[in-house]
């Protein structure tokens, strides 16, 4: 397998240092191209297609029905599968040496290509993206299968473009393409949520500002039509502030270099150590459970609860369904068709699943992603640093880190779980969901840190070696 994995196509890496201005140019170019592509509709698509990935849009980026319909789904799925397999040592690849890393990257690329095909196929075969009968008639003598194949082909090419653009950003730009596309999608959702002037649920626009003006101009009751929007605005601002605060909250472990006198440093153990990824895993688990219930319902087994369309209406499936917006639980606003205790039970289960699941997955994730005490201890040891006042020894380091990392991980996991559930209970601006918003703020904060580092490197070129580049 090795020759094949090593020969996987890659975007040419830059030779030497890329100036920050050029990095910014590459990033902006990719971003503009990405936005343009989200607006190009797949050729031959019928108007009655539906978005199968609708509930994951905020996380998967892309745009429904466009040639980048798959978004970053294939990249993220392939990467998570590979990280889990590697974390469990099932691959037999040693990622500590360059040869193993080349193999790992090759395998990741191969898996992304496989995932592009695997994720494009159900969209066409499952009838979610339907071929246009007119185009089939005028171009291919009425063969719907040919048009379906063309749609499939466009989805694959779109997936490939996203994959390549991600690599361009990672190598030539600022941050990573995956992060950039998530942020782009959620930001678009936020702007939409603020400015959209189309009326959907009632007589007034759905966007925050148009709605405010329309209600005032009309002289309608602000409390009745605007209270949820105010709540969403407060939640959004609150989440933004809290995540930025939590990102900068850290325990710093002091380090000193063994041979270079005066070279001191700190290893930060951040509160949101495991990032927001564990939340996505819990949400995906919940979604799979709901899909299982829906599947049973569709084949006529309803002891777990009945579904109407894609919404559970009673039984275990109802109380275990996640709450996505205030309309799912604020029983004093609308008639939910359920007694209050059932709604409260559903809220409680959602909270417990997210908090407990968040903590467990965070611990699991830290181990998988190589952020646990033993990995970090090895890294610090290899860099020649040690904790002042302690023997320079990997085991000593590990025991010291063990005092902090597992605890911080659990506290961080629980905190992010509570935050994510709260954001969904209270609703946020635009249809981006609590998890999407959390992810975006977290990515933007890290991007800001990276840009700050870049600027230091531009000002003091000798610092580049400190950052481990060139």
């Amino acid at each position: 397998m090795e020759p094949l994995l090593a020969a996987m196509p890659a975007v040419r890496p830059p030779e030497g240092h890329v100036h920050f201005k050029n990095k910014l140019l590459w990033t902006v170019a990719v971003l503009i191209l990405y936005f343009l592509l989200t607006n190009v509709q797949v050729f031959g698509l019928s108007a009655d297609s539906s978005d199968w990935l609708g509930m994951y849009r905020a996380i998967l980026a892309g745009a429904s029905g466009s040639i980048v319909h798959l978004g970053i789904g294939p990249i993220v799925t392939a990467s998570i599968v590979l990280q889990l397999l590697n974390g469990a040592d099932l691959l037999g690849i040693n990622t500590r040496e360059p040869r193993g890393q080349v193999m790992y990257m090759g395998l990741q690329k191969l898996l992304i290509l496989v995932m592009i095909v695997l994720e494009a196929a159900p969209n066409v075969i499952g009838g979610f993206l339907q071929p246009d009968a007119n185009i089939a008639l005028t171009l291919f003598g009425g063969s719907l299968a040919t048009v379906s194949f063309l749609i499939f082909l466009q989805l694959c090419i779109g997936g490939l473009i996203i994959f390549l653009m991600d690599e361009v950003v990672t190598k030539w730009g600022v941050g990573s393409g995956v992060g950039l596309f998530i942020v782009a999608g959620v930001s678009q959702g936020l702007i939409n949520g603020f400015l959209n002037w189309a009326a959907v649920q009632d007589a007034y626009p759905v966007g925050f500002f148009p709605r405010l003006f329309a209600i005032i101009a009309d002289g309608a009751n602000l409390m009745e039509y605007f209270s949820l929007d105010i709540l969403a605005l407060i939640t959004t601002v609150f989440i933004f502030g809290l995540v930025v605060y939590a990102e900068s909250t850290r325990i710093e472990i002091p380090l000193a270099h063994a041979t270079v006198r005066g070279a001191r440093g700190r290893f930060p153990v951040k509160l949101i150590y495991a990032s927001v990824l564990p939340m996505i895993l819990v949400r995906v688990l919940q979604a799979n459970w709901q899909m299982f219930g829906l599947f049973l319902n569709n084949i006529g087994i309803t002891f777990l609860g009945k579904f109407e369309g894609q919404t559970p209406v009673n039984g275990i499936m109802y109380v275990t369904a996640p709450i996505n917006s205030p309309n799912d639980w604020m029983w004093w606003l609308t008639d939910l068709g359920h007694p209050v205790w059932e709604v409260l039970l559903r809220m409680g289960i959602d909270l417990i699943v997210m908090v407990v699941g968040g903590a467990i997955f965070a611990l699991f994730w830290v181990k998988t992603a190589g952020l646990d005490s033993s990995h970090v201890a090895r890294q610090i040891q290899r860099s020649g640093m040690s904790i002042p006042g302690y023997r320079r020894n990997e085991q000593v380091l590990e025991r010291y880190l063990d005092r902090y990392i597992p605890r911080v991980t659990v506290i961080g996991g629980v905190a992010v779980g509570v935050l994510s559930v709260l954001a969904n209970y209270l609703g946020v601006i635009g249809a981006v969901g609590g998890t999407g918003l959390l992810l975006t703020v977290s990515i933007i904060y890290r991007l800001y840190e990276e840009i700050a580092n870049e600027q230091i490197m531009e000002m003091y070129p000798f610092m580049r070696s400190f950052f481990g580049k060139e």
Binding site: L37, V40, F43, T95, A369, N453
Partner: protein
Amino acid sequence: MSKTNIIGMAVKNKGGGMVSSAGLVTYYDSEDKRSLHISPKLVLVFAAAIGIIIAVLNHIF
């Protein structure tokens, strides 16, 4: 930014050249000379060309 912080960052980055974006995807810097190298400009041109071709097709039919 103070000197201490900078060195703190260096420690983090020395771990085998692993970069992770929001904890979602893992990248390693290591590249093999055998791999097929594509120029970044070509990627952007290719993406734009595909977009334009499909947009034109949509417009015609």
